[in-house]
Symmetry: C2
Amino acid sequence: MSTDPTIIDSLLQVMRLMRRHFDECVREMGLTMSRARVIVELARHDGMSQNDLARVMMIEPPTLKRQIDALEADGFVECRPAEDDGRKKVIFLSEKGRQSKVNEFSQSLRDDVLQDIDAADLATARQVLDQIAANIRKLADR
Amino acid sequence: MSTDPTIIDSLLQVMRLMRRHFDECVREMGLTMSRARVIVELARHDGMSQNDLARVMMIEPPTLKRQIDALEADGFVECRPAEDDGRKKVIFLSEKGRQSKVNEFSQSLRDDVLQDIDAADLATARQVLDQIAANIRKLADR
DNA sequence: TATATTTCATTAGCCAGCTAATGGTTTTCA
DNA sequence: TGAAAACCATTAGCTGGCTAATGAAATATA
């Protein structure tokens, strides 16, 4: 039995380091890791509603709303009421958001963080993480 | 060179799922994932100062202080001024903290979350995570 | 058609991570 | 020995996750 007791701690540690580093790198653009993530997703799904975007990003709508509000205040995104549904609001990247190069920046940062790691090991790690996610979902039956 | 773009997202997702599930499981004890972690560490390092404990847990002292305050208010830990240094405060598990079975509970939850995962793959995943952590540290030179 | 249910956005409020700044001790060293 | 530097705990305040609850709009249903 006695499964490895440290992978959870490694996870916690990596997350904290990653957020800290990423935040530091994008601070000068007026962004954070989470807000950059919104922009990256919007670049792929422009014009989505808040709920749909939250689902794609796997965070809760109230969490996303705060990012949206902040990004809109800083001019990175624009919100409009949806034409076909009075409840929905759809979100678009602004010109500033589109030109912000956040996508490229995130990609290069990702490459830096993953450098010198064997591709097969990386794939294994991703599989393990997804298996952990599946296990948790099964435990919580969501 | 287009490294796998999804491992970061897998990380984020696992962390969110884990925290949500863990929090739900220990809520009835009046705990959270982070506070349970303090108790687990204290079981190994009873009588540590706040700064030292924060270093061991790899979180910042102000973050730890809040957990300590909450745990002390709920009777899980006790704080005393250190005898040898007027600045330090040392932290001990209380009887309630010692009897709370948090250690065993965390271990079993960890086993549940990692079930059916190949031990070698798990080791590889941990290695990859530690390598990522090392890469970030190098980038940020800490 | 009228009501009931669902869905969407939003607000309020919690917990947990962080940095910056402060005050009190201790240590260092000139 | 006396001043400077370092260290510890603490406070204040930011961001980002979450749940619960609410009101408005759309959909389903009786």
